[in-house]
Symmetry: C2
């Protein structure tokens, strides 16, 4: 018997996207975002939501560009830091020791040390309430070779991404393989 726990923002899993932007002076900033996900296959798009109060939101609107950076488990502290302090108040790259790299195709920085990054141009903006929802077309995905399989595809077991639990506010790693998509349930 299901019980109501009220209208809450609880789903599993939510991602840990680190969103890279430049401010008007060209200073690189990055912010942790758990509200977002892939939103279209063709053209490939990813959507994220931010609050107006964030430094990232103004940067994103001004530059019409952002990156999504996927952290490995070993960077969970840095990822959390990107969600705690505003880029208005400190240089997050300097504090975390991570390296912003200017994208060659959009005016946004990506994080050199993170295994997988997406370069995006803003294509849609929808104000939903406290958060505004931004959709970016994914113009390219880049990965370090050590995180790919023998065919050059991203390997989740090498990337070791992080997920976030919005109910318990905890970070978790990836667990055991449960089965192959479009396959294990086909002949149920």
């Amino acid at each position: 018997m299901k019980k109501s726990i009220g209208a809450k923002t609880i789903v599993y899993p939510t991602p840990v996207f680190i969103v890279g932007t430049y401010d008007k002076a060209g200073k690189a900033n990055a912010m942790a975002v758990a509200w977002g996900g892939i939103s279209c296959s063709d053209p490939p798009c990813v959507s994220i939501s931010t609050r107006e109060a964030t430094y990232t939101q103004g940067n994103l609107i001004n530059q019409e560009a952002f990156t999504i950076n996927i952290p490995s488990e070993k960077y969970v502290k840095e990822a959390d830091h990107f969600g705690v302090i505003s880029g208005r108040d400190e240089d997050k790259f300097s504090i975390t020791g991570l390296t912003p790299v200017k994208s060659e195709i959009v005016n946004a920085p990506y994080i050199k040390e993170f295994p997988l990054i997406l370069e995006c141009k803003l294509v849609d903006t929808t104000k939903l309430g406290l958060h505004t929802h931004f959709t970016g077309e994914i113009l390219d995905v880049k990965i370090d070779e050590e995180f790919t399989d023998e065919n050059g595809n991203p390997d989740i077991n090498k990337i070791k991404p992080i997920l976030y639990d919005p109910a318990g506010m905890g970070y978790y790693g990836i667990g055991k393989f449960l089965g192959q998509g479009f396959s294990i349930g086909r002949n149920i």
Copy 2:
């Protein structure tokens, strides 16, 4: 040194949302969706993307209502089945043996056997390309008591949700706890 792998829809993790809708005849359908995520904290909203070809998309537009159902690991085969076959061609609830329950607050069915469900009314529709992006306001969240902690909050370790790897097309469980959000990175 990062290498380009092209414009692909690869982020980690993506969710396994089972979206519940009714068709015009009142038949319950459910579909697996990995493109989506929470999109606003206030009002609480969740966004999902579907293709026009799906039975779910027509249902969702007609009813202006849907549910998001979070499967436990033990239902990974059923979850996959919901993504393989169209509800036009079969009664997915009958085939999987799962039970649709009519929501009391929106005109959509939720899945009795899944631990956590969200009841949503459609508030925004944005056509992005192959996929259309639908945002629902979360009117309520319901959970079975056995999946909550001592304070009545959802417990990720009891829910055992599934995540999807869009590069390798595999399903995975939740891994080890890595740290507490808004905490472990504060004083980096």
